[in-house]
């Protein structure tokens, strides 16, 4: 690791720490109360889920509409395990088992379906998510459409913040790793990648499974934070809402995802007062943003501290690539 790299890593770390301290101080002096914290936690959970989806859609170029299904698995696994094993151990065990089950299902689903392309894959993943939801709704153990309530709360904003940062680190480093670069090669030109000896299906499955793991983690966190879950929370619309975050942020741009998740989270809290006009306004904003920035706010670029902080001569934000 060269010195420059340490410098960038440190500056990112200190940025994350600054955010943490800001929230901490604001909460301590009572500037943000329970509601502010709720908003922050929900944004954090969306960030985790969206980063996972961005890995699948943005980096590996596989159009998945089934993210909600994996969130449901994480949420239900956590709730069910916590009914048997109480306490914080149950929560950890629940989250881990949710992540594991979700990963296994993603593997089983992914291997055959990832041979499909584009919109055919989209509809297949949508179908799987719906199947998961319908099964959950008809099972006894998941308590049918009423869902499970009284899940013990072990989720604090600190936990979500730290997990979101860890997710971001994992995803960004994954993209730069060997498999990550291979996945990008597959996305950009599958046939060329194949002829270079890259096992395309393997790498697509890796991205798909990793995305599912983060979705399950997000579902698990939300279950314990809201303390109740119901199958209708994991319908098609949930997948769409996460998809919207990554498309507006810029497909493949992790920093775009984070910024958009925050912006849409704040927008949502503002729109709560608009009653039935709310979704009309939301829809109008969605259309206008897409018309103005079809490639998303960040395009496929990343926010780069390197350019901004250290390359004094350059105009910042001008031309950065993923390896910044």
């Amino acid at each position: 690791m060269d010195q420059a790299h340490i410098k960038y890593t440190l500056s990112w770390a200190s940025l994350a720490a600054m955010g943490f301290i800001l929230i901490f101080v604001a909460q301590m002096v009572g500037l943000i109360g329970h509601y502010g914290i709720t908003t922050i936690v929900l944004i954090g959970i969306n960030i985790i889920a969206a980063l996972g989806l961005n890995l699948v859609v943005g980096i590996s170029g596989q159009f998945s509409l089934g993210h909600a299904g994996f969130m449901a698995i994480g949420a239900y696994a956590t709730a069910l395990v916590m009914e048997v094993v109480p306490g914080v151990i149950g929560f950890i065990l629940g989250m881990v088992s949710g992540i594991v089950v979700s990963g296994v299902i993603a593997l089983v689903v992914g291997i055959p379906t990832l041979r499909l392309r584009g919109d055919y894959l989209a509809i297949a993943t949508l179908g799987f998510a719906e199947i998961i939801r319908i099964v959950i709704m008809n099972l006894k153990i998941t308590n049918g459409p009423a869902g499970i309530f009284g899940i013990a709360p072990f989720v604090s904003w600190q936990l979500v913040y730290v997990l979101a940062v860890i997710t971001l680190i994992i995803v960004v480093n994954f993209v730069r790793s060997m498999p990550g670069q291979a996945i990008i090669a597959v996305r950009d030109n599958e046939i060329a990648a194949e002829s270079l000896g890259i096992n395309t299906t393997k790498y697509k499955v890796i991205a798909f499974v990793t995305g599912a793991l983060f979705a399950a983690m997000a579902g698990s966190l939300r279950a314990s934070f809201i303390q109740s879950i119901a199958p209708k929370d994991y319908a098609f619309m949930q997948s769409i809402m996460i998809l919207i975050i990554i498309v507006i942020g810029g497909i493949g741009s992790m920093s775009g995802t984070v910024v958009t998740a925050i912006a849409l989270g704040l927008l949502d809290t503002m729109l709560q007062n608009f009653g039935s006009l709310r979704m009309v306004i939301y829809a109008a904003i969605l259309i206008v943003v897409m018309l103005i920035r079809p490639q998303g706010i960040f395009g496929s670029r990343e926010l780069s501290l390197k350019k901004w902080l250290f390359d004094e001569g350059d105009r910042h934000g001008s031309d950065n690539t993923e390896n910044a």
Partner: protein, 391 residues
């Protein structure tokens, strides 16, 4: 390096600013007002929006009426109600967020809502944490007012019958009044409303349940299921769901020539049932009712219906009536306890006895459910033609 210093400085300023703002903010909070804030958590967008809007109208109307009639009297002082409505989008996460906003930012004294069971479940932890009483006009699942260990949820109330009560009474009506021996059940299994009523019904019904058919909210086509059951032997049908699908089932089965009596829970009890099914198809139909324009439950029912019609140009549905009652129950709780504090409202709601609601005379039991009689209203040609109180 310059920019690093700028960022560092900005950060320190921000932290300092927040701290200073927080301190100033804390010291300046003293208020003596004669307004009691009520929060409304209604789903005015999303799947449950038709119920959410009807309930928001009911709550708004109650607030307007109470304020016009002098407001709430506490210790000889007149308080006015103010309602702050927020949209919960028929989404559990959103419901929790909205509830938190009302309790922690708007500092409401009580909450009316949420509309559906799963919404209440996600709002309960927030209300409990904020020690704020919450009364749901229409959530039906048995266990929403109870904790996991069976103790009552201290801050959660409802104006609606619980599902098992309704299912049991419907079964009783089917046996005693319709003399039904074999019954086919349709249930809406996209919420616990349909499934909850069905399971209680099955338990209480003396005859034989021939078949249970589930459907999802939003389903419009019932030809296949009706064709399937058509040749079975049954003498009544129960539709445990809402009027949207109930009306469609009724229309399609009567068109097909299935003319047995139909019974339904309060979700069927809406003028829309007859509108969707057609008047000629809406005969021999019985539903559980809290509120009926033609068969008023208490002396306040008819004036309410009339005043509402005058204000909104249509008769209130029972969703509207239940939300209207919820607000008035909060008012009664405040006046009984002679205090506007949240703990007093909670106590007042828990001790409410013989309250004259437009949906019946009710008392709150130890599990925070209303005890009121259930009326089965019969329809002939789309008009209410009979009303039987099920004891």
């Amino acid at each position: 390096m310059k920019k690093i210093i700028i960022v560092g400085a900005a950060f320190i300023v921000a932290v300092g600013g927040i701290a200073a703002f927080g301190v100033v903010n804390k010291s300046s909070k003293v208020s003596t007002s004669n307004v009691i804030k009520i929060g409304g958590v209604f789903d005015t967008s999303g799947d449950a929006s038709s119920y959410g809007k009807a309930e928001q109208d009911g709550a708004d109307f109650a607030i307007k009426q109470i304020n016009a009639n002098g407001g709430v009297k506490v210790n000889g002082k007149n308080y006015k109600f103010k309602i702050i409505n927020k949209d919960a989008k028929t989404d559990n996460t959103e419901t929790a967020s909205v509830t938190s906003s009302l309790i922690n930012n708007e500092k409401v004294s009580a909450i009316v809502g949420p509309v559906i069971t799963s919404g209440v479940q996600s709002a309960v932890p927030v209300a409990t944490q904020g020690k704020t009483p919450m009364i749901s006009p229409t959530a039906g699942a048995d266990n929403i007012t109870l904790q996991k260990n069976g103790d009552v949820q201290p801050y959660v109330f409802r104006a609606q019958y619980k599902n098992s009560f309704m299912g049991t009474k419907m079964a009783q009506f089917a046996t005693e009044n319709l003399k039904a021996k074999n019954i086919v059940i349709f249930q809406d299994n996209s919420s616990d409303y349909g499934t909850g009523i069905t399971s209680a019904f099955k338990k209480a019904f003396k005859g034989n349940v021939v078949d249970v058919e589930s459907y999802q909210a939003g389903t419009k086509d019932f030809q296949a299921v009706l064709t399937k059951i058509k040749d079975k032997k049954f003498d009544a049908i129960a539709i445990n769901g809402y009027y949207t699908e109930g009306g469609a089932i009724l229309k399609q089965m009567r068109d097909m020539g299935i003319n047995v009596p139909v019974i339904g829970p309060d979700g069927i009890g809406d003028p829309k049932t007859a509108e969707i099914a057609g008047n000629k198809n809406t005969s021999n139909v019985y539903y559980a009712s809290h509120f009926s324009v033609d068969a008023p439950a208490t002396k306040v029912s008819a004036p309410f219906a009339k005043a509402y019609k005058k204000a909104y140009g249509k008769y209130p549905s029972q969703f509207t009536a239940l939300a209207y009652d919820s607000v008035r129950m909060i008012k009664a709780a405040i006046e009984n306890e002679n205090s506007t504090s949240k703990s007093a409202i909670t106590k007042g709601l828990a001790n409410l006895k013989n309250f004259d609601g437009v949906t019946g005379k009710m008392s709150i039991d130890k599990d925070h459910n209303p005890v009121k009689s259930m009326v089965m209203v019969g329809m002939t040609d789309g008009k209410e033609s009979s009303a039987v109180v099920v004891k």
